[in-house]
C-alpha cells in the first residue's frame, strides 16, 4: 500500500501542491485556444456531410471573393506522392477524391475573423456523388461490403480475405484443442463494444505560422509536440527541422492528442496567406465527428475451465474497425485479453477492418478494455456456471513474475497476486446488497511504454534546479518529476522547477502516452540529476584536492566518502552552485535514451450496482479500484488516474457510444447526447494503491494511467448480472438495452 510519507524517502510518496496549480486555478494557464498573435487569422473547415462520397467538384470562388478571406485550401494545395502512414495522415487531414466519413475535411479557409471564416466556409460549394457506406464492423467484414479503399491491406492479410480487412494476425501457444478437451466446462460467446470518444474537455486548437521559405512555428495543445512536428511536416512535404512546435497546456488527451487532425491546415493556410499566423479551433461537433474516437469491436471468446476453476485453454477471435484507415488496436486487445491468466494454451486471431468512420486514435490502454470486456465477462459467466468465487478463480490462475504471458514473453516483476489479495481484504466486499443490487469484479492490464526520451537539467546559481522535459503535463507530471529530481539532488521540492519545453530545446521525445511520462521522463530526470551530481562531486573534489571518486553525494551536499578520503565539511549544492562560474562554468545534466525497465500494471475493480427493474437504469452504488503503481511518487495524482480511468470506463459501459443513422452520419455530435458521466451519476471512487516496486525504475515507478479504464466494462456487466440475472454482451448497457434484456428474460 502507498505509505504516504512513511517510505524510506524524504519526498517520494508525499503530496505537495503541484507547481502549475496556481496558474490553473486562476485562469492564467494558457491552453491551445488561449493564444493570439499580431496579424492572426482565423480558420474554418468545410466537412463532408456524407459517410462515403466521391468529391466531384469543389468551387471556392465565392468564398475567395468574400471580404476578409485571405486563403482557401483544398487537397490540391498538398503535395502529391506520399505513401504509407504519411499518406494516411494527409488523407485524413484533407480528403482527396473521396470523403471517407461524416466529418472528413474537404476544404479550409482563413479569414480576418472567426465569423468571416465561417461565412466563407458556407460559401464553398462541394458537389458530392454519394457512395454506399458501411459502419458496423460485422457488416464491414462481409465479402460484399462497400469497399473503403482498394489496396489498403498490408502483407499480413492472406489472399481471399474480405476487401475491408487491412491487417490480419494470429498468435498463441500450446495445444488449444487438447486444453478444451481437458476442461469440464467450455463456453464460447460473442461480445460487442461500440466506439467511444476520449472526451477531453478541451477541443483541439492550434496556431500555425509558415513562411514561403518553409520555416514555421506552431503553438498547439498536444500530448507530443515532436509527433506533431513530424506528422505536420510529413503531410506538407516540409523539413522537420524548420518547424518549431511549442506545446500549450493541454486540456486532456487520453491518447486522442497523440496525432494530427487539423494542425497541418493552419500551416498550409498560413503559407498561402503570406505567412500570417492562423488559429484553428475545433468545435465540439468537429471533435466528435472528426477526431478520436476508439475502435468498435466484435469478439468471439472461448474458454475451457476445470470444475475447480483452472483455465485449460482460451481462444479469442476479434474483429475491430478503426475507421477508414488501418490501425484499430486489435493486436493490443488480443494481447491484453488473457494477460491476467496463466494460459497453458491460447490462440489469438485478429482482423483490422476499414469502415466509414473517423480514424481511430489511441484511447487509454488502446484495445485493452475491449479484450477485457470479452474475456472477463466470459470468466464471470463460467464462474457462475460452476458455482465458483470469481476472485478465487482469478487468484488460482493469476500470472506471476517469470510466467509466460498469454501473448508470449515472460513477465518481469508484476503485482497481480498482490492486487487480488488487497481486493479480497477490502471492506467494500463485505457491504450488504439489497434487492436489485449486485456486485461484479474484473481485472485489467496494460503493458506500459517507454519510448524516445530526452531531458535536461540545469543547476541555477542559487543551487536550485530547472528540469526541461518534452512530455506535456496532463495530470501532475511536473509535480512527480520535481519530487523525484529533488529527492535525488537532496534539495527541497519547491527548489526544482520543471518546464515542458518546445521542440527546439531537447532531443526527440515521444508524447505523454503509454503511461510513460512519470516513468520515462522521471527516470531520465533522475539520470540527468545524477550526471549533475557527478559534476558537483568533481567540483568539490577539485576544491578539496582529492580524487573525485572519493566524494559522495549525501543530503544535497558533496562530502568525502569515508575517513580515508580526507576530512572536509560537506559542501552544499548552494555553495557549489554559487561558485560554479569560477570553478568550470555551468553545471548541468542531460539524458537521452529509450529508458529500459518498463513495469507493467495490473488492476482489479469491484463495483456494486442497483438496477431499476422497471426502467433498466443502472446506478453505481460503490466503486473500488485496486492497482499496482510500483511506487506512487505523488499518491494523490495516482489516485486521480485510477479514479479518472474508472469513470471513463463507467461511461463506456453504461451510456457512451457513437450512434449512427441509416445515412451513416454521426447522430450524437454534442455533449448533450454523447453522454459522458456527470458528477451526480457517481459515488466517490475508492482506491487502493498497491506498491510492488518496479526494479527497472530508480524509485520503482510503474505507469498508472491506462489500466484503470479496462476493468469497468466487464465489472459492471458482471454486477448487472449479479443484480438482476441478465447478461449484457453488448455495450453500452444503456437503460433500453437492460430493460429489453429484462423483458426477454420474463
Amino acid at each position: 500500500m502507498a505509505k504516504d510519507g512513511l517510505t524510506e524517502f524524504r519526498l517520494v510518496g508525499t503530496r505537495p501542491d503541484r507547481p502549475d496549480g496556481l496558474d490553473k486555478v486562476t485562469g492564467r494557464a494558457r491552453y491551445g485556444a488561449d493564444i493570439s498573435a499580431p496579424g492572426m487569422l482565423w480558420a474554418a473547415v468545410v466537412r463532408s456531410p456524407h459517410a462515403h462520397a466521391r468529391i466531384v467538384k469543389i468551387d471556392t470562388s465565392k468564398a475567395e471573393a468574400l471580404d476578409g478571406v485571405k486563403a482557401v485550401i483544398t487537397r490540391a494545395d498538398f503535395p502529391e506522392g506520399l505513401t504509407g502512414e504519411a499518406w494516411n495522415l494527409q488523407e485524413n487531414t484533407m480528403a482527396g477524391d473521396r470523403a471517407l466519413y461524416d466529418g472528413h475535411a474537404v476544404a479550409a479557409v482563413a479569414a480576418t475573423s472567426a465569423f468571416v471564416a465561417q461565412d466563407a466556409a458556407r460559401l464553398i460549394e462541394v458537389e458530392y456523388e454519394v457512395l454506399p457506406h458501411v459502419i458496423d464492423v460485422d457488416d464491414a467484414i462481409k465479402p460484399d461490403a462497400p469497399v473503403i479503399r482498394e489496396g489498403a491491406a498490408d502483407a499480413t492479410v492472406p489472399e481471399g480475405m474480405p476487401p475491408n480487412v487491412v491487417r490480419y494476425m494470429e498468435f498463441g501457444h500450446g495445444d488449444v484443442e487438447a486444453g478444451f478437451g481437458a476442461a469440464d466446462l467450455v463456453m464460447e460467446k460473442t461480445y460487442k463494444t461500440e466506439a467511444t470518444h476520449q472526451g477531453y474537455i478541451e477541443p483541439h486548437a492550434c496556431m500555425g505560422q509558415m513562411g514561403e521559405d518553409g520555416r514555421g512555428e506552431m503553438w498547439v495543445c498536444t500530448q507530443g509536440h515532436w509527433f506533431i512536428r513530424k506528422m505536420c511536416t510529413d503531410v506538407l512535404g516540409l523539413d522537420p527541422a524548420q518547424l518549431r512546435v511549442t506545446p500549450s497546456e493541454i486540456g486532456g488527451g487520453f491518447g486522442g492528442k497523440t496525432t494530427i487532425f487539423m494542425e497541418p491546415l493552419s500551416l498550409a493556410l498560413s503559407k498561402k496567406a503570406g505567412g500570417r499566423p492562423v488559429k484553428v479551433v475545433m468545435t465540439r461537433s468537429e471533435v466528435l465527428r472528426a477526431t478520436g474516437p476508439t475502435a468498435s469491436a466484435s469478439m468471439d471468446v472461448k474458454i475451457g475451465m476445470t470444475k475447480d476453476g483452472q483455465i485449460t485453454a482460451g481462444r479469442a477471435e476479434f474483429r475491430m474497425q478503426g475507421g477508414a484507415f488501418p490501425g484499430a488496436p486489435v493486436d493490443f486487445a488480443l494481447m491484453c485479453g488473457f494477460a491476467a491468466y496463466k494460459m497453458p494454451a491460447v490462440e489469438h486471431i485478429g482482423y483490422d477492418v476499414l469502415a466509414n468512420r473517423p480514424r481511430a486514435a489511441a484511447y487509454r490502454a488502446p484495445g485493452s478494455p475491449m479484450g477485457a470486456f470479452a474475456v472477463e465477462s466470459l470468466v464471470d459467466e463460467m464462474c457462475r456456471e460452476l458455482g465458483l468465487d470469481p476472485l478465487e478463480v482469478r487468484l488460482k490462475n493469476a500470472v506471476h513474475e517469470g510466467d509466460k504471458a498469454s501473448y508470449g514473453p515472460k513477465f518481469g516483476s508484476i503485482g497481480l497476486e498482490e492486487v487480488l489479495q488487497a481486493t479480497k481484504a477490502h471492506p467494500n466486499l463485505l457491504a450488504e446488497l439489497g434487492p436489485n443490487q449486485g456486485r461484479g469484479m474484473a481485472s485489467g492490464y496494460w503493458f506500459n511504454h517507454s519510448g524516445d526520451t530526452s531531458v535536461s537539467l540545469a543547476i541555477s546559481e542559487d543551487g536550485t534546479a530547472q528540469v526541461s522535459v518534452g512530455t506535456p503535463d496532463i495530470g501532475g507530471s511536473r509535480a512527480s518529476i520535481a519530487l523525484m529530481t529533488a529527492e535525488t539532488l537532496g534539495i527541497d521540492y519547491e527548489d526544482v522547477r520543471v518546464n515542458v519545453v518546445e521542440t527546439g530545446a531537447l532531443g526527440v521525445n515521444e508524447p505523454t502516452h503509454g503511461s510513460r511520462a512519470t516513468f520515462a521522463s522521471g527516470k531520465a530526470a533522475v539520470m540527468a540529476a545524477e550526471q549533475a551530481i557527478g559534476e558537483m562531486c568533481r567540483r568539490a573534489a577539485a576544491k578539496w584536492g582529492i580524487d573525485p571518486e572519493a566524494v559522495e553525494w549525501v543530503d544535497g551536499a558533496a562530502q568525502p566518502a569515508g575517513p580515508n578520503a580526507g576530512k572536509f565539511p560537506p559542501m552544499t549544492i548552494a555553495e557549489i552552485a554559487a561558485k560554479m562560474s569560477s570553478t568550470g562554468g555551468p553545471i548541468a545534466g542531460h539524458h537521452e535514451s529509450v529508458p529500459e525497465g518498463v513495469g507493467a500494471s495490473f488492476g482489479t475493480h469491484v463495483v456494486d450496482v442497483e438496477v431499476d427493474p422497471e426502467t433498466g437504469r443502472t446506478t453505481i452504488l460503490r466503486y473500488l479500484v485496486v492497482q499496482d503503481a510500483g511506487r506512487a511518487i505523488h499518491p494523490a495524482y495516482v489516485e486521480g488516474q485510477y479514479q479518472g480511468g474508472a469513470v471513463q470506463g463507467i461511461g463506456w459501459a453504461l451510456n457512451e457510444a457513437y450512434i449512427y443513422g441509416e445515412d451513416g452520419r454521426l447522430q450524437n455530435t454534442v455533449f448533450l447526447d454523447y453522454r459522458i458521466p456527470v458528477a451526480s451519476d457517481l459515488p466517490m471512487i475508492d482506491t487502493v494503491i498497491v506498491e510492488v516496486p518496479n526494479p527497472g525504475h530508480p524509485y520503482g515507478v510503474r505507469g498508472v494511467g491506462e489500466t484503470g479504464i479496462t476493468p469497468p466494462l466487464p465489472a459492471i456487466a458482471n454486477a448487472i448480472h449479479d443484480a438482476v440475472g441478465v447478461r449484457l454482451r453488448s455495450l453500452p448497457m444503456s437503460p433500453p438495452a437492460v430493460l429489453a434484456a429484462l423483458k426477454a428474460k420474463e
Binding site: Q118, R122, T283, S285, E614, T615, G616, R617, L654, N655, I659, Q667, N668, V670, F671, L672, D673, R675, P677, V678, S680, D681, S734, P735, P736, L739, A740, K743
Partner: protein, 286 residues
C-alpha cells in the same frame, strides 16, 4: 444578423411581422444560441425580449392563478416559494432543463416555443391546464399550452405573433402535481420519456386529473384516457395499472439516439404511475 431589443410586445410583434428573412425571438437564449452556433439556424433578425418591462416578473393574478413573464429563468421559478407550493410539478419540470448554469437563463416560454416534444417544462404546464397570452399586431389572445406545439421545432404561432406571458390557473384546494422524466444519466440529458400528472382530491378519491406525456409523440400530448383511469379512484393498484396501460397506449414514439419505441412505451407507463403517486401525496398535503 440584426439584433433588436424592443421595449414592448407590440413593437416586437410589428418587428417580427415586418421581417422577411429568418427571425428568432430571444428569451433565455439557451436554444437559439446553440442553434446559431451549430449553424442550424442563422437568423437575419434576432429580437431580444428581455428589455420589455415585466418579462422577468412572476405575479399572482386576482383569481389566485399565476402570470409568469417570458424571460423568467428556471432559477427564479424555483426560488419562488408560493409558486412552488401551488405548482411544484410545473416548477420541477422547468428545473430539470439543463444544468444550474442553464437554469440561470432558460425560460418556460422558450422551452415551449422551441417546439421539442421532449421539452421538460411542457408536460407540467399541459397537465396544469396552463394557457399562454399571445401578442400579435392586432392585440392579444390566449391559447392552451397544448395547442402551441405543432411538431418538432414548430409552433402554431403565426408570423408576427409571440407569447407575452404564461398563465397558470388557480391551484385550488387539495390539488397536487408532479413531473418525472427518464434520462440515461442523472442530469444533463434530454428526456427520453416525460410524464406530468396533476390531480385534485376529495378525501382519498381523485376527482379531477390531467396527465401529459412528453417525448412519445411529435408533440407533448394530453392523455385524457390516462386521467380517466384514475378519476374516481383512490389511486389503488388497479387504478395505477390502468393508468400505466393508458399512458403506454397513448404513445406514438420513434426509435432514435435517445431511446427505442418499446422502451419509451414501457417507461411512459412506469413514470405515469410514479408521478401520479407523488402528485397524490402532494395533494394530501404531505
Amino acid at each position: 444578423m440584426h439584433y433588436h431589443s424592443p421595449s414592448t410586445f407590440e413593437d416586437a410583434a410589428r418587428l417580427a411581422a415586418s421581417t422577411t428573412g429568418v427571425t428568432r425571438f430571444l428569451a433565455g437564449g439557451t436554444d437559439v444560441l446553440v442553434q446559431m452556433r451549430a449553424g442550424m439556424v442563422l437568423p437575419d433578425d434576432l429580437i431580444d425580449l428581455k428589455g420589455i418591462p415585466g418579462v422577468a416578473d412572476i405575479q399572482q393574478t386576482e383569481d389566485g392563478g399565476w402570470r409568469i413573464g417570458v424571460a423568467v429563468p428556471g432559477i427564479q421559478l424555483g426560488a419562488h416559494a408560493a409558486l412552488v407550493a401551488d405548482w411544484p410539478g410545473v416548477v420541477e419540470g422547468m428545473e430539470l432543463v439543463g444544468s444550474t448554469q442553464v437554469q440561470g437563463r432558460a425560460t418556460l416560454t422558450g422551452n415551449l416555443c422551441n417546439g421539442s416534444p421532449a421539452a421538460d417544462s411542457v408536460p407540467g404546464l399541459v397537465a396544469a391546464g396552463a394557457t399562454v397570452e399571445i401578442t400579435g399586431q392586432d392585440g392579444t389572445r390566449t391559447a392552451s399550452v397544448e395547442d402551441i406545439p405543432a411538431g418538432p421545432g414548430k409552433t402554431t404561432l403565426a408570423q408576427g405573433e409571440l407569447i407575452s406571458a404564461i398563465l397558470l390557473p388557480p391551484r385550488g384546494q387539495n390539488g397536487g402535481d408532479a413531473y418525472l422524466r427518464f434520462i440515461p444519466r442523472t442530469e444533463m440529458d434530454i428526456a427520453v420519456v416525460g410524464c406530468a400528472v396533476s390531480l385534485t382530491l376529495d378525501g382519498d378519491t381523485v376527482t379531477a386529473a390531467r396527465v401529459a406525456l412528453g417525448a412519445v409523440a411529435p408533440t407533448v400530448v394530453l392523455v385524457p384516457e390516462a386521467a380517466e383511469a384514475i378519476i374516481g379512484t383512490t389511486l389503488d393498484d388497479a387504478a395505477l395499472e390502468a393508468l400505466a396501460k393508458a399512458a403506454s397506449a397513448a404513445c406514438n414514439p420513434i426509435d432514435d439516439k435517445r431511446g427505442t419505441v418499446a422502451f419509451r412505451t414501457d417507461v411512459a407507463g412506469v413514470l405515469a404511475g410514479r408521478a401520479a403517486k407523488i402528485a397524490y401525496t402532494r395533494a394530501k398535503g404531505a
